[in-house]
């Protein structure tokens, strides 16, 4: 990768562009290889257990016991900015929970802050009810637009979510997506009441809040595995395998470089 990085920088790319390309181009090889291989394989790859996803699978049964809704937040980012992948992870979680909710008497309660995410969340809910054969059960208000970000700040949204969690009958709180410091504002009241909370983020600055407030936390890249763990999609398995292999290659590369540096050969 460092060779590609040097070549790209010499070709006139700025360091950020070079880093992106150096990571992107070699990743295409395992991605397309496994995209070809996995659908032709008779068995699905075995995934390590992630307690938060196991808990999500049982969440609706848990909510059904109380008869209360499950609150779902897909983060505070847009689907058209640099943190769109985190929002997508939240939308996969929403898709899974919406499907389960459509099959039960427990309506989902989705809150949204970004205008571009709102139609996507509505779409997930509508399709879930259609897939399960209950299109008439879908309601426009099942997804609630709380407030748009003001100057990039999601604090108005956090205030709205706090109100929802404190004053409405909610059995569990699920928060998966891109968050900032507002994560603690939204999750701490629930944690103080010992409410059941499942959530995660990929931003290292938010992870201490995730760890302190969530009953079942998801850390970093774990949120991007939602599609494979929850929706069981071949394309998501493919990318998980490619990610693992590429990560292993990077770790080996780092170790080799450290070793060569230590021996004075680099």
């Amino acid at each position: 990768m460092s060779v590609i990085l040097d070549l790209l920088e010499q070709s006139g790319y700025n360091p950020m562009q070079a880093f992106m390309l150096a990571l992107f181009l070699p990743f295409l090889i395992p991605f397309f290889y496994f995209l070809y291989r996995v659908p032709r394989s008779t068995s699905r790859p075995r995934l390590r257990g992630i307690p938060a996803y196991e808990a999500l699978k049982k969440l609706l049964s848990r909510a059904a016991e109380t008869g209360q809704a499950v609150h779902i937040s897909v983060g505070t980012a847009s689907i058209a900015d640099g943190r769109a992948a985190d929002t997508m992870a939240g939308l996969y979680t929403l898709e899974f929970l919406a499907d389960r909710a459509a099959n039960s008497d427990i309506p989902p309660l989705v809150t949204v802050t970004d205008p571009t995410v709102f139609p996507a969340a509505l779409d997930q809910l509508r399709h879930a009810y259609e897939r399960q054969g209950y299109p008439e059960e879908y309601r426009f208000e099942q997804a609630r637009f709380i407030a748009p970000p003001v100057n990039g700040s999601a604090v108005p949204y956090a205030a709205g979510v706090m109100d929802v969690l404190n004053h409405e009958p909610v059995a569990a709180n699920v928060m998966v997506g891109a968050f900032g410091a507002e994560f603690l504002l939204m999750a701490e009241p629930g944690a103080q009441r010992e409410a059941y909370q499942i959530g995660g983020a990929s931003d290292p600055a938010v992870l201490p809040f995730v760890s302190l407030t969530m009953t079942e936390p998801l850390f970093g890249e774990e949120i991007f595995a939602a599609g494979a763990y929850l929706l069981n999609r071949v394309g998501h398995y493919t990318s998980l395998i490619a990610q693992d292999i590429f990560r292993l290659a990077l770790v080996l590369l780092i170790l080799v470089v450290v070793l060569l540096r230590a021996l004075g050969l680099l």
């Binding site: 139609p119 609630r144 604090v155 302190l212 990610q243």
Partner: protein, 215 residues
């Protein structure tokens, strides 16, 4: 409908068109990140501008949702009715103030500076108390992870205090080590994993494996 031998009905029914548009736009915007070309930059700019227009329409949908939800609450005489009245009334008042002067007019800026910003700052101040209660709760859990977490937090907090450098330089050195070695290593590992996850998500969208847009 068949034109020039293309059955547009089939195209629309099978969502080929929407997938093709999504992939095409994605590829063009991605190329725009790596290739410096005036024509390509113009196309990317136009596409991103189109995205902003779509976002503006989506905001109208959100506004309709807010009005509908709170109007229903008022009609049903819900226990939260007073707050719904307050939300709709304040939205209307701000709308009336902003409408004549525009989004960047003096009246709009006055609302933002003297009403919104103090509210936001006060609300953010809650974070201090929330962090304190969260750490206190963590200390009560009594697992070795939480003990390590709390110990690191205390060392970094004390090591950051200016007077501690006079009393004992050990805390400053310990803070530097925690921040620059284990914390940075962990953060870089997480960031690398997240970067691969982001690339994989982007590729799934570009190849049409994932289609988050309406079918």
């Amino acid at each position: 409908m068949i034109l020039w031998g293309i059955n547009f009905g089939v195209l629309f029914r099978r969502q080929i068109l929407s997938v093709a548009i999504a992939i095409g736009v994605g590829v063009v915007v991605l190329l725009g990140q790596f290739i410096s070309n005036a024509t390509l930059d113009n196309i990317v700019g136009t596409l991103l501008g189109g995205g902003a227009i779509v976002a503006a329409f989506a905001l109208l949908l959100g506004l309709a949702n807010v009005i509908l939800f709170h109007t229903k609450r008022i009609v049903k005489r819900d226990a939260q009715m007073p707050f719904s009245i307050l939300i709709l009334a304040s939205a209307l008042i701000v709308f009336l103030i902003v409408l004549p002067s525009g989004g960047t007019g003096s009246a709009s800026l006055w609302v933002l500076r003297y009403i919104y910003q103090p509210l936001e700052t006060s609300f953010l101040a809650l974070l201090v108390f929330f962090i304190a209660t969260a750490v206190y709760r963590a200390l009560r859990v009594r697992t070795w992870e939480m003990a390590l977490f709390a110990l690191s937090a205390v060392v970094v907090l004390i090591g950051s205090a200016p007077f501690m450098q006079i009393i004992s330089p050990w805390f400053s050195a310990a803070r530097e080590w925690i921040v620059n070695v284990p914390a940075l290593a962990g953060a870089r590992g997480i960031l690398l994993g997240a970067a691969l996850g982001i690339i994989a998500t982007g590729l799934r969208l570009l190849t049409g494996i994932d289609r988050p847009y309406s079918e």
